[in-house]
């Protein structure tokens, strides 16, 4: 009897711990959102998302953040495309072509684990060094390349995890029909499509919200770039610059920018979940 009672208490303690942890996180995230909305919403206006800054914008005058919104989207779309272009082949190679437990595959995974942990300012500095070496100015292209480097470890490690979990029987089934290794990529990608969407979402979150990597590489400008060689504004930097302003009105605009950033990530997440459900109807 006593034994069972102790077990019951144990059960309650652990359940309590889980609830406390969940609440702590949910509440603090909620508080962040409340802070953003409370300070950002009053200064939100249609102008904010449809106009680029005018002369005195950073002193509290007319204008909006369209330059940073478009800039952030440019950077994220560019670096996700470029990132997938490099990470998918790498992941498929280490999973399908290298033998199980291959040294090279282990080493690649370890490298990307390490790269995962490197702070984004280091990527920024690295990108900047190369730009100086090549004599390039801050530009959209440099920003995209740097953010690509930042998100490739995320893409690779999270896609790798889902591809490793593809049942061996499925690969064997396709192979035993006489498929070559490159021909089994299609069913495998179909199987892991939802996992790839999650990987992309993680990278979008990281890429669109990162200020340090674009600080030296993408630069900042009040106009929308028309070519890859022009500098580009981003939302995180818009937040950073406006927060450091002494004018209260401008500080509030930083919160508005944060609100816009949050809503963009939210919209992208919902859309991605919706499409991944469509893709995954055949998943086994």
């Amino acid at each position: 009897m006593r034994h069972i009672r102790i077990k019951r208490i144990e059960e309650k303690i652990f359940k309590g711990l889980m609830i406390v942890a969940t609440l702590a996180i949910v509440v603090s995230l909620f508080l962040i959102i409340v802070a953003i909305v409370r300070r950002g919403l009053p200064v939100m206006s249609w102008d904010m998302i449809s106009k680029i800054p005018t002369g005195g914008f950073y002193l509290g005058k007319e204008g909006g953040l369209l330059n940073a919104i478009v800039g952030s989207l440019y950077i994220v779309v560019g670096s996700i495309s470029l990132g997938l272009f490099f990470s998918l082949p790498i992941v498929l190679y280490i999973n399908l072509y290298l033998p199980e437990k291959s040294r090279l595959a282990q080493f690649t995974r370890l490298s990307f684990d390490v790269l995962f942990g490197i702070p984004s300012i280091v990527y920024g500095a690295f990108g900047f060094t190369i730009m100086v070496y090549l004599g390039i100015r801050t530009s959209l292209l440099a920003g995209i390349l740097t953010v690509t480097m930042l998100i490739i470890p995320i893409l690779i490690r999270s896609i790798d995890e889902v591809i490793r979990r593809v049942p061996k029987e499925m690969k064997d089934a396709a192979l035993s029909l006489g498929a070559t290794r490159s021909e089994i990529i299609k069913p495998i990608l179909r199987q892991v499509a939802p996992g790839i969407v999650t990987a992309i979402l993680l990278s979008v979150g990281r890429g669109i919200g990162d200020a340090a990597s674009v600080l030296f590489t993408a630069g900042y400008t009040d106009s929308i770039p028309t070519s890859l060689s022009q500098p580009v504004a981003t939302l995180p930097l818009a937040i950073f610059f406006q927060l450091s302003s002494p004018i209260a009105e401008v500080q509030d605009r930083a919160y508005a920018a944060a609100l816009i950033l949050t809503v963009i990530v939210l919209i992208l997440s919902i859309a991605a979940r919706f499409y991944s459900r469509k893709f995954s109807k055949n998943k086994i």
Partner: protein, 288 residues
């Protein structure tokens, strides 16, 4: 054979003895007949397989008859599945595997240098223990094989999908929902889908790795009936744990124990009169 029987009639006096010897003669004759009628489709010669330095298959030599059902029986861990996987070279995808000896399919060594592994695999349909549909629709599951082998015409594909679903006895159940996911089928239907998918690449051999062990009795009966129906067109090799299944459908039986082939003989012979003591003990259920 008749002369032999008459001779037996003359030389032995006691009826039991007579019966015993007659039965042996008959069995031998039927065995000869099966091997004569069915030339070996797969021949294994001195096959040794090591997995992670462990000696899994020990000097295996055997013949798999053409257009007949061969059942490989034996206790768990005796190397049945490994042997099966050596046939279509899936084994070499595993880590640390060493294969010695020859596996001849239609007289061609499958480990030969100029042999393309895809063409070997195309010759053999594989049915695994648990059905494993590809993450696609029912239609695409069947069409996947033909497509990778270059068939693109929609009309041809439609005809093939219907033909092989019919052959696997699944057409009537799925003809109205070819576009729905393969996972919407029951597990027994999925296994028949996998069979149809395998048949669609026009193999000569069907390999079954305990193909019915995850299925309910009715589904597994259906699969068994399919094997019997298909045995005139394909050489069927089944690894099985269920002795009853082997008794029901096997033409030829291979008994393996601890990586060695103990006995290989026509079903009638091995079940009624096993030559080896081990085989007899296994069939009598002393170990399993």
């Amino acid at each position: 054979m008749i002369q032999n029987l008459l001779r037996v009639e003359k030389y032995f006096d006691s009826p039991t003895e007579k019966l015993q010897v007659m039965r042996e003669t008959l069995n031998q004759a039927s065995g000869d007949l099966i091997l004569k009628a069915h030339k070996p489709h797969i021949s294994v010669r001195n096959l040794n397989v090591y997995l992670a330095k462990k000696h899994i298959l020990k000097n295996v030599s055997l013949d798999i008859p053409d257009k007949a059902i061969t059942c490989i029986i034996g206790p768990s861990g005796c190397g049945k599945t490994t042997l099966l996987k050596t046939f279509n070279r899936l084994l070499q995808n595993s880590v640390d595997v060493k294969i010695e000896g020859d596996v001849l399919v239609d007289g061609e060594n499958i480990h030969g240098k100029e042999v393309e592994v895809e063409s070997i695999r195309k010759k053999m349909g594989l049915l695994s223990q648990r059905p494993c549909p590809l993450p696609m629709s029912i239609y695409d599951n069947i069409a996947y094989g033909p497509r990778i082998h270059g068939i693109r015409r929609k009309k041809t594909l439609n005809l093939m999908v219907e033909k092989y679903l019919r052959e696997a006895g699944l057409w009537d159940e799925v003809k109205d929902r070819l576009k729905s996911p393969a996972t919407s089928l029951s597990i027994g239907q999925q296994q028949r889908l996998c069979l149809a998918r395998g048949l669609a690449v026009k193999p000569e051999i069907i390999l079954g790795d305990e193909a019915t062990s995850a299925l309910d009795p009715i589904s597994s009966k259906k699969i068994e009936e399919l094997f019997v129906k298909l045995r005139d067109q394909y050489s069927i090799v089944l690894v099985t744990h269920t002795l009853r299944q082997a008794r029901r459908i096997a033409d030829y039986v291979i008994f393996m124990y601890l990586g060695e082939v103990i006995e290989a003989a026509p079903a009638s012979e091995i079940f009624s009169n096993p030559k080896e003591k081990l085989t007899k003990e296994y069939l009598d259920g002393y170990f399993s």
